[in-house]
């Protein structure tokens, strides 16, 4: 991490949106949720709320000057409910008052008449009713049905994974300031300033150049502030514009948990056909994605699910069908992994079941089917140089897999009321936005006359370390110390049309744009220096802020060259655009090259299950992970460790609960549990795969680390199943998640009673 920022954070100095000093006269907003989970909105009477002292206004759909629409792609999500209440988190009105307390106190005074309907919360039920966000998406390759017929082992089953609350520590918040000429400036905790700007402009009926959105470092995002930040920013902007006063809107934890979208639950049917030796012949899979009440990013997420349907394995024939089901939940949204975790969960469940049926060790089956160079992926891409097999081999050796298995077998024979399990899990994750146009970025690098440098890009820092990676790339390119570089906030007036910071592409795209901008500046400066020294530019370079000629130090510093360049009227700023080369995807044929490269790795997770109480501990998480030649190993280590625990939380701990009437009963940290220090494995051991040659990579030969390691959580899930299976009489595997303590105990009891 950036040392300066880290120290500042440990001193409490960085300002998140709710920490900004407020301009004189700032008002505060609160959001009215619907009284019914979904149904018809008949009337809203705000008079009692307006009568409360300190309340300035109550705004509803009819006050919207522009288009009452959140969705950029298809108009399926009215911003404030107009006639239909779409879901339990659908905002009905914005109360503006002199303080947050007054605004919230006014909410129950608003009288709402609505006709509730019975909500549909189950994606399969929605699918049966034909409630889909789009026609089914199908990715088919080889001859799946024939290969199924030819299979010796035929495995059929179901895998259900649950939702997940992002639980970024900083809740959704925005501060909007009215600007002259009808404009508005919004400080937003958004992963996508560009997207937020577009939404605000649409809703306020303003051209985009009258809306500026600026994001400083977020207190976490994980995908939950990609589209999900837009509504709150737009509400703040709406109130600020209509009242011509600054307005801050910040959700409290309960509101944030109840009103904002989460990870998509999937309910999946699979049939996996294998030959006698356990080679996969056919994999047919049907995903029921619970998309929630509006499509949001569900279709892109579903696409990534399909592209990753085969996990880290070679599958010659298959068909993946995805249904994005329109349930009445708050629209589901992006969350670290973006549909890939659900795909991996399904194929890993199928393999687990296959290993059980075939009575072969799970890892043997995995190894037999592991992707390698020359294999063809379902969408027609043939793999080049591939690091997956190396990571698998190294993990097995380094972490002593065979010994582990033997030790656990012995433990399980002798322990009482305790069982252990361990699993190895390979991952293979494609890097790029699956929607090709998003794979572009720009960067603005300014060199000031004192030699200090500022870098603006479209990337939002939210803890993933993108700013460190970019600033190191710029420092290295310019040949100056990183301390001379300042990473700027992300601002739509400095960087236009930026893509969201998502899909793990933040550093690759924005870093490459910044690197190229730095390159331009360096060339300009070296030309100046060459002229001054009577040298040729090729002889010159900057190293640690000093000009070198033919490998020898000169008396010229970076600062001095910059000053001279200014005197000579050389442009000291560069704005550069970058688009990832060589990626394309034909959505109709479901064929193409959608990713710029792949990230792979192999993890080992070991757990101990208390078979009396139905609780478990993670003993160790060890991984060999391919990060390429990373400019910031400590950032990558942190990403891998954090993503793993988040993935494990998804599959073993975290669970939202909504009553049949649509009331969220897990809207606090008391009722919704995320991993804490006690959930952290006893041993955490992250190794980087040091491959001399890793094929295509991203920024400076590095590989993205934000999302892929989330998948390692599945290793913990499988380890837990193995421990369960070491107890009592055998019972069939069920691909259910999360394996909460309650589920664990039920499974143990079943194995004691000998009935399913």
């Amino acid at each position: 991490m950036d040392k300066k920022f880290s120290l500042a954070a440990l001193k409490g100095e960085p300002l998140y949106v709710v920490d900004f000093p407020l301009p004189e006269g700032t008002l505060f907003g609160a959001v009215l949720p619907p009284p019914v989970p979904c149904g018809e909105l008949l009337s809203i009477d705000p008079s009692a709320a307006l009568a409360l002292e300190g309340v300035k206004a109550v705004f509803t759909a009819k006050d919207i000057p522009g288009e009452n629409q959140v969705n950029d792609l298809a108009p399926d999500e009215p911003f404030l409910a107009e006639r239909r209440i779409l879901h339990p988190g659908h905002p009905l009105a914005l109360v503006v008052a002199e303080s947050e307390e007054i605004a919230r106190r006014a909410l129950p005074l608003i009288v709402v008449e609505a006709l509730g309907e019975r909500p549909v919360f189950d994606p399969r039920e929605a699918a049966l009713k034909g409630r889909l966000h789009a026609p089914p998406e199908v990715l088919s390759w080889g001859e799946p049905d024939k290969a199924w017929e030819d299979s010796f082992w035929k495995i059929q089953g179901r895998a259900d994974s649950g939702d997940q609350e992002h639980l970024y520590m900083e809740t959704q918040s925005a501060l909007a300031l009215p600007l002259p000429y009808g404009g508005v400036k919004v400080f937003s905790s958004t992963q996508s300033p560009g997207g937020t700007q577009k939404t605000v402009a649409r809703i306020l009926g303003l051209p985009m150049h009258l809306v500026t959105v600026e994001a400083f470092r977020l207190g976490g995002g994980f995908g939950g502030k990609e589209t999900n930040a837009n509504s709150w920013a737009a509400l703040a902007a709406l109130g600020a514009r209509l009242l011509n006063r600054p307005l801050r809107l910040s959700l409290n934890r309960r509101e944030d948990m109840a009103f904002t979208g989460k990870r998509h639950p999937y309910s999946t049917d699979y049939s996996l056909g294998l030959d006698r030796e356990g080679r996969i012949l056919s994999y047919r899979v049907l995903f029921h994605q619970d998309g929630g009440a509006a499509m949001d990013l569900s279709l892109s997420i579903l696409s990534r699910t399909l592209l990753h349907a085969t996990g880290a394995y070679r599958v010659p024939n298959g068909r993946a069908t995805g249904l994005s089901c329109r349930t009445d939940h708050v629209p589901r949204t992006a969350f670290r992994g973006f549909g890939a975790p659900q795909a991996f969960f399904a194929i890993e469940s199928a393999l687990f079941q296959a290993a059980e049926t075939m009575k072969v060790p799970l890892e043997e089956l995995k190894e037999r089917n592991l992707l390698r160079e020359g294999d063809t992926l379902p969408y027609g891409k043939t793999l080049g140089k591939e690091t997956l097999p190396a990571s698998w081999k190294k993990a097995k050796a380094l972490f002593r897999w065979e010994e582990t298995e033997a030790r656990i077998e012995e433990y399980n024979r002798s322990a009482s009321w305790s069982r252990k399990g361990a699993a190895l899990m390979p991952i293979h994750f494609g890097i790029a936005f699956t929607y090709t146009p998003l794979n572009q970025a720009s960067a603005l690098v300014n060199v000031y006359t004192d030699g200090s440098v500022s870098v603006s890009t479209g990337a939002v820092e939210m803890g993933q370390g993108v700013s460190v990676k970019i600033s190191r790339a710029v420092a290295e390119t310019l040949g100056i110390p990183p301390s001379r570089i300042r990473m700027e906030s992300t601002d739509t007036s400095r960087i236009a049309n930026s893509s969201p910071t998502a899909a793990s592409t933040g550093a690759d795209l924005n870093g490459e744009a910044a690197r190229r901008a730095a390159l331009l500046l360096k060339e300009r400066l070296l030309a100046v220096a060459a002229e001054l020294l009577g040298a040729s530019p090729e002889e010159l370079l900057f190293r640690r802020g000093l000009l070198e000629r033919g490998g020898k130090k000169t008396t010229w510093s970076w600062e001095r060259v910059v000053k001279e360049a200014y005197q000579k009227r050389v442009h000291l700023s560069a704005l550069v655009h970058y688009a990832t080369p060589a990626i394309w995807f034909d959505g109709k044929r479901e064929r193409g090259e959608p990713f710029s490269y792949y990230v792979s790795g192999t993890a080992l997770v070991e757990v101990t299950l208390d078979t009396l109480r139905g609780t478990f501990r993670t003993d160790r998480f060890q991984v060999v992970h391919d990060v390429g030649s990373t400019p910031a190993p400590e950032v990558d280590r942190g990403q891998i460790e954090g993503a793993f625990l988040q993935g494990l939380g998804w599959l073993t701990l975290e669970e939202s609960r909504v009553t049949p009437q649509g009331k969220m009963i897990t809207d606090t940290l008391t009722t919704y549990k995320v991993p804490d220090f006690s959930s952290c494995p006893g041993v955490v051991d992250v190794r980087f795969l040091e491959e001399e040659e890793g094929g295509v990579r991203g920024l400076l030969g590095s590989k993205a680390t934000g999302e892929p390691p989330f998948l390692y959580g599945i290793a913990g899930y499988q380890a837990l199943w193995k421990a369960i299976n070491a107890w009592g009489r055998p019972q069939p595997f069920q691909g259910i998640a999360p394996l909460t303590n309650e589920r664990l105990l039920n499974l143990l009891v079943q194995r004691e009673e000998g009935k399913p």
Binding site: M1, K3, S6, L7, A9, L10, K11, G12, P14, Y16, V18, P21, E101, H166, L167, Y168, M169, E170, T171, R217, G219, G220, F222, N252, R253, S416, W417, G463, L612, R613, G614, R617, V635, G638, E641, G642, L645, Q646, L653, R657, T668, L669, T670, K673, V674, P675, D676, F677, S678, S679, C680, V684, W727, G728, R729, T740, E742, L745, N746, G754
Partner: protein, 478 residues
């Protein structure tokens, strides 16, 4: 409203405060100290952590507490140290160790971790990384997965000589403070300020006032406290002492005080570890035993423990007092036998029979800082293979914290054996009426109860464990 005088970092502040205003708001809004963050406002995340110093009787204490649940009415005469104050003289060794371990990702949780670790260094008897980890039990981080924090803690705990650290704490908090000042963990002005803290003003009892213990339940349930009576400042409700055949605990005693009291741990050595599963360190430093009882939550951890210990309550209203066995205190779901204006003055625990042991079991969704699905406390006396005393109480399985009288009686009936353990589990299941809720289905809770009964018995008699396992696994299959 009244004028309160207190210290925030180096500054003396006099302000007119509403007593129920939360200190987190006071800091962030009124004093613009925004390094203290708010992540949940319910005591569950630790982003709002502060060090809170005040005189309590003869001693001065500084504890990590959640400022989101600290009512401003409590802070008159006290000292609040925020992250800004801790950082006033430059980077501290805590910050340096954490920075080097790479614990900062989004950074939102970071100040809270620094405060909690500084509180650990102030109060811990030993420089021990497992104690430090426990001290962070009230801090959540969504980004790092805690591994880097673990490394930071290791580094911090190897900065100084362990013996020297222990020594520095022997003669009290002020000596430790000076020691930490010399090592730049604390700014130099802290000890003198700490020494000069006045006694907090006594709380005044008015008719109709609301008794407030640690407010850890009250401020989660409601936004404001009207006419609060702060019990932490009523001398008659303080202290833990031996009184005749009883251990007498004041109605204002908090859970951490109880957990660490030598009087308690001498009698019940298992208790201090068992209580680590209750709330978090900063919550335990505020939450009172009496609050836990009056709350009457069916899963109140302390309610169960005190029930199994056969406690009784001394209740006071004006000048009239009465004593009530605890099991008669719980009337119905969240209803207790307490008159308006009546206070729990003392909690009386009969001294246990020589050789009896207390066991506490709790299963929740997450191991730490979570409310139980089912919890169980048992006071057991085993002699020559037979239980001579057994008093079991269970939570989460009935509208009130429940004494398992049938199960307790059954356990005395024959020598301890796998068969008896099983039967006890089954009997317990028959005594209870759990419901489906967010903490689990009724069926789950029933199963869990039976197993926790076995759990306490197996901890008492570990040699029974393999026998019971054989019985359970082989019975049906033959």
């Amino acid at each position: 409203m009244g004028i309160s005088t207190f210290w925030v970092n180096q500054r003396r502040v006099s302000l007119s405060l509403s007593p129920s205003q939360r200190v987190v708001d006071l800091l962030r809004r009124d004093l613009s100290l925004v390094g203290t963050k708010e992540g949940c406002r319910e005591g569950d995340c630790g982003a709002c952590m502060i060090l809170w110093g005040r005189r309590e009787g003869a001693q001065t204490l500084y504890r990590s507490v959640n400022s989101c649940l600290l009512p401003a009415g409590e802070i008159d005469g006290s000292h609040i140290l925020t992250i800004e104050g801790l950082s006033a003289e430059g980077t501290t060794p805590v910050q340096k160790a954490l920075e080097e371990a790479g614990v900062v990702q989004c950074g939102f949780c970071s100040p809270g971790f620094v405060v909690a670790l500084t509180g650990f260094l102030l109060n811990s008897p030993r420089l021990d990384s497992s104690l430090a980890r426990e001290a962070l039990g009230g801090n959540l981080c969504r980004c790092t997965g805690y591994a880097s924090l673990g490394r930071g803690i290791e580094a911090l705990c190897s900065l100084w000589e362990k013996g020297e650290f222990e020594e520095s704490g022997r003669s009290g908090l002020l000596a430790r403070m000076e020691w930490l000042v010399a090592r730049k963990v604390l700014p130099p002005w802290v000890p003198s300020l700490a020494q000069a803290l006045p006694d907090p003003p006594p709380s005044s009892h008015r008719r109709g006032s609301l008794p407030v213990g640690g407010a850890t339940d009250l401020l989660v349930q409601r936004e404001t406290l009207s006419s609060p009576l702060f019990l932490s400042r009523k001398p008659s409700l303080q202290g833990i002492r031996r009184s005749g055949e009883f251990l007498s605990l004041g109605g204002g005693v908090n859970l951490e005080e109880f957990r660490l009291s030598p009087l308690v741990t001498d009698l019940f050595p298992e208790l201090s570890t068992a209580l680590l599963s209750v709330a978090s360190p900063p919550i335990r430093a505020r939450a009172t035993l009496a609050g836990n009882l009056v709350n009457a939550s069916p899963i109140g951890d302390l309610s169960l423990i005190l029930l199994s210990l056969g406690s009784s309550l001394r209740l006071v209203k004006g000048n009239s007092r009465r004593t009530l066995p605890l099991e008669r205190f719980f009337l119905a779901y969240r209803k207790v036998d307490l008159l308006p204006g009546e206070l729990v003055e003392r909690i009386l625990i009969p001294l246990p029979t020589e050789g009896s042991r207390l066991f506490f079991e709790k299963v929740s969704r997450r191991e730490r800082l979570d409310i139980a699905s089912v919890n169980l406390s048992a006071l057991l006396l085993l002699k020559e293979g037979r239980l001579e005393e057994a008093r079991l109480a269970a939570g989460g399985v009935a509208p009130v914290p429940l004494l398992l009288s049938k199960t307790s009686a059954l356990l005395l009936s024959s020598p301890l054996s796998p068969g008896l353990i099983r039967e006890a589990g089954e009997t317990a299941k028959g005594e209870v009426t759990p419901i489906d809720d967010v903490r689990g289905s009724a069926l789950y809770k029933t199963h869990l109860l039976g197993r926790l009964v076995a759990g306490v018995l197996l901890r008492l008699a570990p040699e029974q464990a393999p026998l019971l396992e054989n019985l359970v696994l082989e019975e049906k299959g033959g």
